[in-house]
């Protein structure tokens, strides 16, 4: 089988509001192979989370609609499936963890019950088998004394442990793909490191493909094989991690990497990117980054740049490499 595990082609998710059409995701394409970790980075509001939700067809309705593109899971287009078929995919083939562990668990049910529900829905387990599998899942996410924890309620656990429980629920049915939407943003730094290590371990153990959504380049460096940078609903650059860090070609990527302060050098002022991301309901005809780009020319403002391959596996949407201009 030579399909990549997941192939997203020109995905577009627009929001139809009374003030206009907000193009949250506007032509996103990428592939994901089994066992691979893809990082999706960008500022808040660039469309990373909405891309993930669109893959699962959980975009907020009725305002949000997937208006174009394909999402091919092992060759089958998820966007053409019925809702019932999608319910079989969610949690079973593709799963997702959300950002806030405080809110991700239902406060009125015990942790064990919530994990068991996933097993019950997709695998129809009951009784002793269900209990044993639930306990094993807790053990797999390295929660100590799992038998006792089964009956605990979310508010009796710390944030880090809750996030592990969320991980257990997501992985209960051994999905092929796990989308992690900034899972460590609300955790302490030390807990972050532990959690990332856990995810990596689980990934290797289960052959999981991971889409890691983050705005933290440190995490990207640690966790990801490839990375895609998003801006204003589109992917502006994608490459293998090493390549992106060593040789970023899109001005936005360059600016982003420059804005991360380094410990070794003394910093007088933190560098930031001037200006604001464009409003997604009023996108300019050309490159959305042009207003803030130090290299922008007239062509950039008029026409959206095509995606070009500057090297093997390294693609950029910018007129500079497309036209051969100097940076």
């Amino acid at each position: 089988m030579d399909h990549p595990l997941l192939e997203v082609k020109d995905l577009r998710t627009w929001f139809f509001t009374r003030w206009g059409v907000v193009k949250a995701v506007d032509g996103v394409s990428f592939t994901l192979e089994a066992g691979e970790t893809l990082g999706l980075v960008g500022e808040s509001g660039c469309g990373k989370s909405m891309t993930a939700l669109s893959i699962l067809r959980l975009q907020p309705r009725p305002a949000g609609r997937i208006v174009g593109g394909q999402v091919l899971l092992q060759g089958e287009d998820l966007l053409q499936m019925s809702e019932r078929e999608m319910r079989g995919i969610r949690g079973r083939q593709i799963s997702m963890i959300l950002q806030d562990p405080m809110q991700s668990l239902n406060p009125v049910f015990s942790v064990g019950e919530q994990i068991a529900e996933a097993l019950r829905i997709h695998q129809g387990l009951e009784g002793r088998t269900l209990w044993e599998q639930t306990r094993d899942l807790l053990r797999r996410v390295k929660i100590p004394s799992p038998e006792l924890r089964l009956r605990a309620y979310p508010h009796q656990m710390s944030g880090g442990m809750r996030q592990r429980v969320v991980g257990a629920i997501s992985l209960a049915c051994r999905p092929a793909i796990l989308i992690a939407d900034e899972p460590t943003t609300s955790l302490d730094v030390t807990i972050q490191a532990q959690y990332l290590r856990l995810l990596k371990g689980l990934q290797e153990e289960m052959g999981l493909a991971l889409i890691f959504i983050t705005h933290d380049f440190g995490i990207v460096a640690k966790m990801c094989d490839r990375v895609a940078v998003m801006y204003a609903g589109r992917i502006v650059e994608s490459a293998e991690v090493r390549t992106l860090f060593n040789n970023p070609r899109h001005p936005y990527t360059v600016a982003l990497l420059n804005s991360v302060p380094r410990l070794e050098t003394k910093i007088e002022r933190l560098s930031s990117i001037e200006g604001q991301p464009p409003s997604l309901d009023d996108l300019p005809p050309g490159c959305p980054f042009a207003p803030r780009c130090p290299h922008a020319r007239e062509r950039c403002r008029q026409e959206y740049p095509p995606e070009v391959a500057v090297a093997d596996g390294h693609r950029v949407s910018c007129w500079m490499p497309a036209e051969g201009w100097d940076g």
Partner: protein
């Protein structure tokens, strides 16, 4: 070290005192409710006389502590010679059963509609909320009178009227709660895990909304008893000769000067019951409000 322990102890003491302050209130309320609920449950064994059979010769006897009264009829008798105490005890049954059944029916209907309205939004929401607005704007008593005349007064009629007037409150309350609960991440996670809409509504959202439902139901029992009393007083509630507190008050209306006990004791029963239930409901609301909960 010593300072830290002292400070912790100082914090613990007011919390203990607060809890102790609440405890007698609970005891007080529970006892009262037991005095009302138990008679309702054990009426045939508690009541000294049959509530429907009166001795005309014994009519309008005063309560025991007045001249002419006796322990045979501790609270006196009504114009048909029926023992007021016994009718009061049996009346508790009527009041409580009407409230429980009506709240059950109205509550379930209102909750389900509120869940659908809040969860799905859009047309479903608009439709249901318009119905709620209409239900709220109808004049309660007038509607009760009209319905009673059309269907004819009976136990069943009263329940239908009351349930019809109650469901809207539940629907509105539940819808409001659902609107906020459905935005929480665990609902999204449930969708991600593959749960169907129904499963999420009844398995995930409803358990989070149940707290306020309990409070609402408790507060409504008092309202329903009053409502039933009013309807009976107006003659369109429980038809005689069934003892119903409101009806008993109505019976004694003309005799308020000469035989005040006929109206007074059922009126007192309504007052005590409704007050107790309201206090209990308020206490429950404070207790169950998740924002005030101290972990």
């Amino acid at each position: 070290m010593a300072v830290a322990t002292a400070r912790v102890e100082a914090q613990a003491v007011p919390r203990r005192r607060a809890r102790a302050r609440r405890a007698p209130m609970v005891v007080f309320l529970t006892v009262l409710l037991v005095i009302l609920v138990l008679p309702a449950l054990l009426a045939p064994w508690l009541a000294p006389h049959h509530p429907l059979e009166g001795q005309l010769a014994e009519k309008l006897k005063p309560p025991v502590w007045l001249t002419g009264g006796s322990w045979q009829y501790p609270l006196g008798t009504d114009p048909l010679g029926r023992d007021i105490l016994s009718r009061l005890i049996f009346g508790a049954r009527v009041s409580l059963s009407v409230s429980l059944v009506a709240i059950f029916i109205g509550g379930i209907l209102g909750t389900v509609l509120g869940l659908f309205a809040g969860y799905f939004g859009g047309w479903t929401d608009s439709l249901i909320m318009r119905a709620v607005d209409i239900a709220f704007s109808l004049p309660t008593i007038l509607l009760g009178l009209v319905l009673a005349v059309v269907i004819g007064p009976s136990f069943r009629t009263v329940i239908v009227i009351v349930a019809f007037l109650l469901w809207a409150r539940y629907a509105r309350q539940v819808r409001g709660e659902v609107l906020s609960v459905k935005e929480r991440d665990f609902v999204a996670q449930a969708r991600i895990a593959g749960c169907s809409h129904l499963r999420i509504m009844f398995g995930h959202i409803l358990p989070n909304v149940v707290n306020t439902l309990i409070v609402l139901a408790t507060l409504q029992v008092g309202y329903v008893i009053l409502l039933e009393g009013t309807l009976s007083f107006l003659g369109v509630g429980i038809p005689p000769p069934t003892p119903a507190w409101g009806l008993m008050v109505a019976t004694g209306r003309a005799l308020i000067v000469s035989a005040w006990w006929v109206s007074f004791f059922p009126g007192l029963a309504i007052l005590v019951t409704v007050l107790t239930l309201n206090l209990l409901g308020d206490w429950l609301r404070d207790r169950l409000d998740p924002k005030l909960r101290q972990v």
